[in-house]
């Protein structure tokens, strides 16, 4: 069979697109298809690739925001009894740093990869529900705005343009300052102000975005695979996406309900966490960590997926123990639900519970270790090429291992009694978050950006990024292990001299600047890549999976002909495997059916902004805020109703190569 999807000769010309007239939707409005207006095109897009790019751009922006917050934190701590920022401001900074990095940077960065890659990796034209996908993106934007709204108020107040008096008299603490896991009862009305409400509503909206996106990906992966792409032939990254999506839909409800209970406590005076009314603050911790621990794996499994793609490509070997890597990913996801209380070893769980969670936590080290063994096994006997993605992936394995070791140290509950809530924990999870997740994400960016934009990296800046991030990471966070063991608790806005913490803190601060510079260089390198003149070609890395079989950037329809897969590592088998394993192509004479673009997901999502802000401000006693909330709810209902009535629409494309070959 000579019809290869690997070498698509020509593409649909712009003139062909123009011949397609946008049709009317079922409600009589013109669908925003084929718009020449860039804004309309992107705002109404349902193309998973554009949505992925938007996720990525926004997430990188928030990564920088969170990074700047971190640098202010480190600067404040550089010397003892520093007064750079006030205690309140510091508390706001670390709260928002954690919230931003987890919910607004890493999760959407992962979502960016899911969106862009999963349909390509499974040989699909798009996700199962393209409009829900757009809805997830815009809901994420709405949630991010609501969470960060307090900064705007605080800035306005600082410039004297807003004051918490008159109708807004009940408002104080505009920015959340109770830590990213918001332990009750610090989140009650008695102790914190409007910031907590923005935080609650923002997280709820982000939860909607994450859960709806996850439904979409599960359906896509289960139902939309190309013919012949059996589950055990799926690329590992897609496997990890599937597991993460399942984790999200089962873990997020716990925090959604916890947040709803908290909101009811604050707005309607219920007693879920209020001690005076019989509530148990410890309940919050259980509910939060039942979500929160799977969340850790929600963050890290995609990183493992990325590395499991990069290592085989750059050592020219298949992944060692594919099925075991996949299986251990699933085991990690499953056990992730059974270890939440190891975040609570110091809360007085009792001996039996402590022992059980201690053992389960140790158990989860096994599948994680298995992954590391398999990565090393993948390199064994291969031809290791030190290209940019590989450098970061190799760094990931090393640094993630470091984070894993301190994780094992935590699993011993009595030892954890000394480490809990100290800088030791900060060191641990930053090795996982930066050394693990961020390095893997950077590796993924270096690996897939040429595919996404069709341009190839130039120059050696990537080496500087690698040196700066890895060195910066180690200088910042390795001393923190000692800082914690020498008794420095976390979340201290300042400290006295004389405890032996001064040198370590200074070194950490210097390291954080190096790390910050590394991330800044990454952004510069990405910009340079966008301006690069060098075309990437379909398969610049001699890669293995299906996404490299199509053009870079992929056409709107991904594949001119739906591929027929006959092997794991489909493209590799096509390039080097026996004839029987090569890719085939479906005969699709009727053309490619494309989904129509739509305004409705955007409208429905934007309704979340007045809803979230309205409910928050209502709690703070701002008059008429309730009407804003009702307006938001009406907008959402309106958007979803029209969305349902307008019908999916769609149009057919006939790419030339597909027509020619038919």
């Amino acid at each position: 069979m000579s019809t290869k999807i690997t070498d698509i000769p020509s593409t649909l010309q712009q003139s062909d697109l123009n011949q397609l007239k946008p049709e009317k939707s079922d409600i009589g409005l013109t669908r925003p298809d084929h718009s020449k207006n860039v804004f309309i095109d992107w705002l109404t897009t349902v193309d998973h690739k554009k949505i992925g790019l938007m996720y990525g751009t926004l997430a990188l922006f928030f990564l920088l925001v969170g990074g700047v917050e971190a640098l202010v934190i480190r600067t404040q701590l550089a010397v003892p009894e520093n007064n750079l920022v006030s205690a309140q401001m510091y508390n706001q900074l670390f709260t928002m740093h954690g919230t931003t990095m987890i919910f607004l940077a890493i999760m959407p960065l992962n979502a960016a990869f899911f969106n862009f890659l999963v349909p390509l990796q499974i040989g699909a034209r798009d996700v199962a529900f393209p409009r829900i996908n757009a809805f997830s993106l815009w809901s994420f934007v709405a949630g991010a705005l609501v969470i960060n709204f307090g900064w705007l108020l605080q800035a306005l107040e600082a410039f004297g343009l807003f004051s918490a008096s008159g109708p807004t008299a009940g408002m104080n603490d505009f920015v959340p300052a109770m830590g990213w896991f918001g332990y009750a009862p610090l989140t009650s009305k008695e102790f914190t102000g409007a910031g907590t409400d923005f935080w609650i509503m923002g997280l709820q909206i982000l939860g909607v975005a994450s859960i709806s996106a996850s439904f979409n990906f599960i359906v896509t992966i289960i139902n939309m695979r190309a013919p012949g792409l059996k589950m055990m032939r799926l690329p590992v990254f897609t496997w990890m996406t599937l597991i993460v999506s399942l984790l999200i839909i089962f873990a997020f409800p716990a925090i959604t309900i916890a947040l709803a209970q908290l909101m009811f406590d604050r707005v309607f005076g219920t007693n879920f966490f209020s001690v005076a009314g019989g509530g148990q603050p410890i309940l919050w911790q259980h509910l939060f960590w039942i979500f929160g621990h799977p969340e850790v794996y929600i963050l890290v499994l995609p990183a493992m997926g990325i590395v499991s793609e990069v290592l085989p490509t750059f050592s020219k070997k298949p992944l060692f123990g594919y099925s075991i890597v996949v299986f251990s990913g699933a085991v990690i996801g499953f056990l992730g639900f059974a270890v939440w209380s190891h975040h609570m070893f110091t809360t007085g769980l009792g001996k039996i519970a402590t022992a059980a969670f201690s053992l389960l936590t140790m158990a989860i080290a096994v599948p994680t270790g298995v992954k590391i063994f398999n990565w090393v096994g993948t390199l064994w006997g291969g031809r290791v090429r030190f290209q940019a993605p590989m450098i970061f992936a190799l760094g990931f394995v090393w640094m993630f291992m470091m984070g894993g070791f301190s994780g094992i140290m935590h699993s011993s509950a009595p030892a954890d009694a000394q480490q809990q809530d100290s800088y030791f924990v900060i060191a641990h999870f930053h090795y996982v978050a930066i050394g693990g997740i961020l390095l893997a994400i950077i590796s993924g960016i270096y690996y897939w950006l040429p595919k996404m934009i069709g341009k190839m990296w130039q120059g050696n800046l990537n080496l500087w990024v690698a040196v700066m991030t890895v060195v910066g990471l180690n200088i910042t966070f390795f001393p923190m292990h000692f800082l914690g063991l020498l008794g420095m608790p976390r979340r201290y806005h300042t400290y006295l001299s004389g405890f032996g913490w001064e040198t370590y803190n200074m070194v950490c601060t210097i390291g954080s600047y190096i790390l910050g510079l590394g991330v800044a260089l990454l952004v510069v390198d990405i910009i340079l890549c966008f301006r690069s003149k060098k075309p990437a070609g379909n398969d610049p890395w001699d890669a293995r999976t299906l996404e490299w079989a199509t053009s870079s950037p992929p056409k709107v329809y991904n594949f001119a002909k739906t591929p027929i897969v006959n092997a794991r590592d489909a493209l590799w088998a096509d390039k080097y495997g026996p004839e029987s394993r090569k890719l085939g192509a479906m005969d699709e004479a009727h053309g490619i059916h494309m989904p129509s673009q739509s305004w409705m997901p955007l409208i429905a999502s934007l309704g979340f902004i007045p809803l979230g802000l309205g409910l928050s401000l209502m709690q703070a006693g701002v008059p008429y805020a309730g009407y804003a909330a009702i307006f938001g709810l009406v907008t959402i209902t309106f958007g979803i109703s029209l969305w349902a009535i307008e019908g999916p629409g769609g149009y057919h494309l006939h790419p030339k190569e597909a027509v020619e070959e038919a």
């Binding site: 270790g369 390199l379 030190f386 030892a415 809990q420 809530d421 008794g487």
Partner: protein
């Protein structure tokens, strides 16, 4: 490629150089809150477990990490590499199973002592020596304990407030704030409670932390220094009983009697960083003296009894003169201190919203450890103490942002109109300095 590899090598050199430098420069592990230089059986168990995990993970780090580095270097692409594809191996189940088995084995090495540790550190050991009656001498102080108290462990109730600590000794009927006094070598059951948000009691050199959670009572146990039996086992002391007792005393004297630093470890709001406490570990005789002094409290200035003083205060306050009397008048009057603070002895200073101020001037710090006036010889630097009082009263909102003493819905000193002037602050500080 070689260029890249060289860079990569440079990178690892740089990292290791930086880390070495760090070790050489700042690696003093004997600090105030170090979890390495532990002084009690609980912290020691925790340290032992930690070191065990360090050895086990260190072993994995060297073996897996070393192998990893070897593989990366050995199989790197070089100029000589052929273009032929490497063997496309998919894995080896035997290796996988072997490695899983090895990981499980290594974890068991940690798991078994961990289980023991959980049981040991959870509560006061269940034996005769743990009971208060086994060591408390009813004759030594003015408090003799009840039968019931004698048959249970010595209890201290630590209560967390934003942002200070109350330490109650329920069996002895006394209470203090921020600096607890405990006898060396005695097991103590700590009851942990909170009145507002979650705090965490962390005294690193004696025991790891346990949280204080509002609405429920947690507990932990601490002991500063080994019991005589444990010490004997460890030091392998041989000699007569008398010599042994003497040597044990010396051990406590030289290694254990000290001030130990603790801090709140669970984020509790604006001034979380300023919620320290101290444990003053003393020998039994000093402990009994402290109980007596705490119980007796203070007389009115000039050795007056309180009835006479209050008669003067109520009828002709101008007859009470001198800085201390003026300070006390402010304390009871305009500054409203007595609304929130207890001073043992003073019948009208019975407020409970703030720290107990009995023998305040004996303490080595104020403001929950933030304003320190301890000399290197572990005595009170009175000049510094005076400065600290002045600073605290004048700028309590700066020292501890958000605290209740500054703004307390009409009862705070930040809400006084006019605020206390310099003279008044001076007088009040002098009065506070007399509380010893």
């Amino acid at each position: 490629m070689t260029y890249l590899l060289k860079r990569f090598r440079n990178l690892s050199c740089l990292v290791s150089a930086a880390l070495t430098l760090l070790f050489l420069s700042g690696c003093n592990l004997n600090t105030r809150m170090s979890t390495f230089t532990v002084k009690g059986p609980v912290a020691e168990t925790q340290l032992d477990l930690f070191m065990l995990t360090v050895w086990v993970t260190g072993f994995i780090f060297l073996s897996v990490g070393g192998f990893y580095a070897y593989v990366v270097i050995r199989f790197r692409e070089t100029k000589d590499s052929t273009d032929a594809l490497p063997a496309q191996g998919h894995g080896n189940p035997l290796i996988e199973i072997g490695l899983i088995g090895a990981s499980v084995l290594l974890l068991v090495i940690i798991a078994v002592p961990t289980m023991k540790g959980i049981w040991y550190t959870h509560d006061v050991p269940d034996n005769e020596a743990s009971l208060m009656g086994s060591w408390y001498d009813n004759e030594a102080s003015s408090v003799s304990i009840s039968e019931e108290s004698a048959s249970e462990p010595f209890i201290i109730r630590a209560i967390g407030y934003r942002w200070w600590w109350e330490f109650e000794y329920p069996q002895l009927g006394i209470s203090t704030a921020n600096e607890m006094v405990i006898p060396a070598g005695r097991p103590i059951h700590i009851e942990l409670r909170s009145v507002d948000v979650i705090h965490s009691f962390w005294l690193p050199r004696i025991a790891g932390k346990v949280d204080l959670i509002p609405g429920r009572s947690n507990s932990m146990w601490i002991q500063a220094g080994d019991s005589i039996e444990a010490w004997e086992n460890k030091s392998a002391f041989t000699g007569t009983d008398l010599e042994k007792e003497q040597a044990y005393k010396t051990y406590l004297e030289e290694e254990i009697h000290d001030y130990y630093y603790g801090m709140c470890a669970e984020y509790c709001g604006a001034s979380h960083a300023r919620m320290g406490f101290r444990a003053h570990v003393v020998k039994d005789s000093e402990f009994y003296q402290w109980i007596d002094k705490q119980l007796a409290g203070h007389q009115a200035p000039g050795e007056m009894d309180w009835e006479t003083w209050y008669e003067a205060y109520d009828n002709s306050p101008e007859t009470l003169t001198g800085d201390i009397n003026e300070g006390l008048k402010l304390f009871m009057g305009r500054a409203k201190c007595a609304t929130c603070h207890v001073v043992q002895g003073n019948p009208r200073a019975v407020g409970v919203a703030g720290p107990n101020l009995t023998n305040l001037a004996d303490r080595h710090s104020i403001a929950a450890g933030w304003l320190n006036h301890q000399t290197p010889e572990k005595t009170v630097d009175t000049e510094k103490q005076y400065e600290n009082f002045v600073k605290w009263i004048a700028k309590t909102d700066e020292v501890k942002p958000g605290n209740l003493m500054w703004k307390a819905k009409g009862a705070g000193i930040g809400e006084l109109d006019p605020l206390l002037n310099e003279e008044e602050i001076r007088q009040l500080s002098h009065y506070l300095q007399s509380l010893k």
